[in-house]
Amino acid sequence: MKEYIIRRILRSIPLVFGLTILVFILLTVLPGNPAATLQGMYATPETTEYLIHKWGLDQPAPVRYVKWLWNVVRLDFGKSLFTNRPVLPQVARHMFNSLYLGFFAIVLGPLISIPIGILSAVKRHTKLDYLVTILVLIGVSMPLFWTALLLQLTFGVRLGLLPVSGMDGEFFSLERLKHLVLPVTAVMFAGAAMDSRVIRSSMLEVINREFILTARSKGLSEIRVLLRHALPNAFLPAFTMIGLHFRAILGGLLVLEVVFSWPGIGRLFYEAILARDYPVIQACSLAISIGVFAVNLLVDIGYGYIDPRIRFKSQVS
């Protein structure tokens, strides 16, 4: 098992840096000048040139990349071109905020999707199933930022119940929780819609298997059969979805973060691109891609735990 993990990590490293190279190449094509943007109307050729030289942007791209790489290895991610504050803490904070938001959504999502999935699998082809299917299909097709806007409109603007933006309050405060409600609901909604379909179809596959028939003929109650025998076997595809959700949190929720002004990593990346803040863009890309590979690795290890057959197969080969 350990060799597997180490092999995976070693294989991922060149891929992660491959991504940073890709991002770097795109950045060289990126038009616009952070020096000009920062100075606004006070820009003069001399000051612009000074800034560009100070930031090392007048050097050829490969040189810049190697320098950046060299610094990264020593855990120095530089300073933001705009705030002049160190990049690493900023990226770490935003990453944490995104994970914080996503964590709630991922944990609470199954509370909705599992019952719905099981229910619609059990009551297949009944009116309830069709109703749920239609609702779920609509839920999957709703653009996330539209759902977010609707939630903002209903609960924030019309009813005035919940704050619509930002992330306020101390870590464990009610205020913080109030700010979490709307964004988490939006994310949960989208995720639960997708997950219910997956759970439904995998439950349908499992329910027709022989061991379920055995369990029923043993006289076990239907609930026990469903929850204790069918569900664990049906869970694997749902686990894949959880991996997908984690990857979405790592920056894919960019638009949601913009709508709710949530200080997450997606929004940081977006604003850095707009501002041409190169160090931040590069650090974000690195952080996001490391995050994605870590999630993939965890999901694959998790497969081994959930389904022992996978675990043993990989050991035999």
Partner: protein
């Protein structure tokens, strides 16, 4: 000797009684049409396409010209009211279909071409080529779709062509994977082996035999991915890096309407509804295609 056992009837049934031999294509069509949900999806998609094509005839006003008082609710002259600059909302939504569909279809086509090529080559040739291409796929997949598209579109600049390019060039990974799996299994098929044994070049085999047989699942993924492309365009426009004004884009309309949420929420709700229905349509069609093409569900013919 006359047997007393029941006579086995070996007479061939008349032509009307034999079950009809249908082609695979007809089977797929039948399966698809049987699903009412898929038909609904097809209806939605068709309506959207028609709306896009006949926009000049359907839309009552020019979508880019401010004509009346801004932010009005619906009235006899303006069915859906006006936006914050006084342009007719209904016309903007009708014309917005053009942008969404053009971007969606073009971007998806680019993704399909790139994905098919890379996927089929990787699956067919295997070995180091496969590893290399899969590494590239992994690199692209390690970054969320929108972020990569955002970076590309910011680098290339505004404009609908760049948006299409950005979405196309970042969304090919799903198609590549499916194409690769198809190529991997097709490679072992007898008829492919036969082609190789008589000396056909790999290129010929790929184009003439592997490609057509690999198309079906790829088509499903391509259709289902239309949803992502359309939402991607809407997201990019929402963020301000998509299709530039005054061209109407549903995503941009959503963004513009945000500032007026308390006074005129319909400015944001309506374009979102349009996106929802279009995406729903493509999702339903994609699901229908996938179910119709699923060989496990094939029950009928002998043919």
């Amino acid at each position: 000797m006359i047997q007393k056992t029941a006579k086995a009837d070996f007479s061939i049934a008349s032509a009307e009684e034999l079950p009809e031999r249908t082609s695979r294509l007809r089977e797929i069509y039948d399966d698809f049409v049987a699903s009412k949900i898929a038909l609904l999806g097809l209806l939605l998609v068709t309506v959207t396409i028609l709306m896009a094509i006949f926009a000049p005839e359907i839309a009552p006003y020019d979508p880019t010209k401010p004509l009346s008082l801004p932010s009005q609710w619906h009235s006899p002259e303006h069915i859906l009211g006006t936006d914050h600059l006084g342009r007719d909302v209904f016309s903007r939504i009708v014309y917005g279909a053009r942008v969404s569909l053009i971007v969606g279809i073009s971007a998806r086509s680019i993704s399909a071409i790139v994905g098919l090529t890379l996927g089929l080559i990787a699956g067919y040739y295997g070995g180091r080529v496969d590893s290399f291409i899969m590494s590239v796929v992994d690199i692209f997949m390690s970054f969320p779709y929108i972020l990569l598209a955002l970076l590309v579109v910011a680098s290339l600049g505004a404009g609908i062509g760049n948006v299409i390019l950005a979405l196309g060039v970042t969304g090919w990974t799903g198609i590549a994977r499916i194409a690769r799996i198809q190529a991997l299994s097709l490679r072992e098929e007898n008829f492919i082996q036969a082609q190789k044994s008589i000396g056909c070049s790999n290129g010929y085999i790929l184009l003439r035999h592997v490609l057509p047989n690999a198309l079906a699942p790829v088509l499903v993924v391509a259709t289902l991915g239309m949803a992502f492309a359309i939402i991607g365009e809407a997201s990019l426009s929402f963020l301000g890096v998509g299709v530039p004004p005054p061209t109407p884009s549903w995503g941009k309309m959503l963004a513009d309407g945000r500032s007026y949420m308390s006074l005129a929420p319909q400015l944001s709700i309506l374009p979102g509804l349009a996106i929802l229905l279009t995406v729903l349509g493509f999702n339903l069609v994609g699901d229908g295609l996938r179910d119709a093409l699923d060989p496990r569900l094939r029950t009928r013919t002998l043919g």
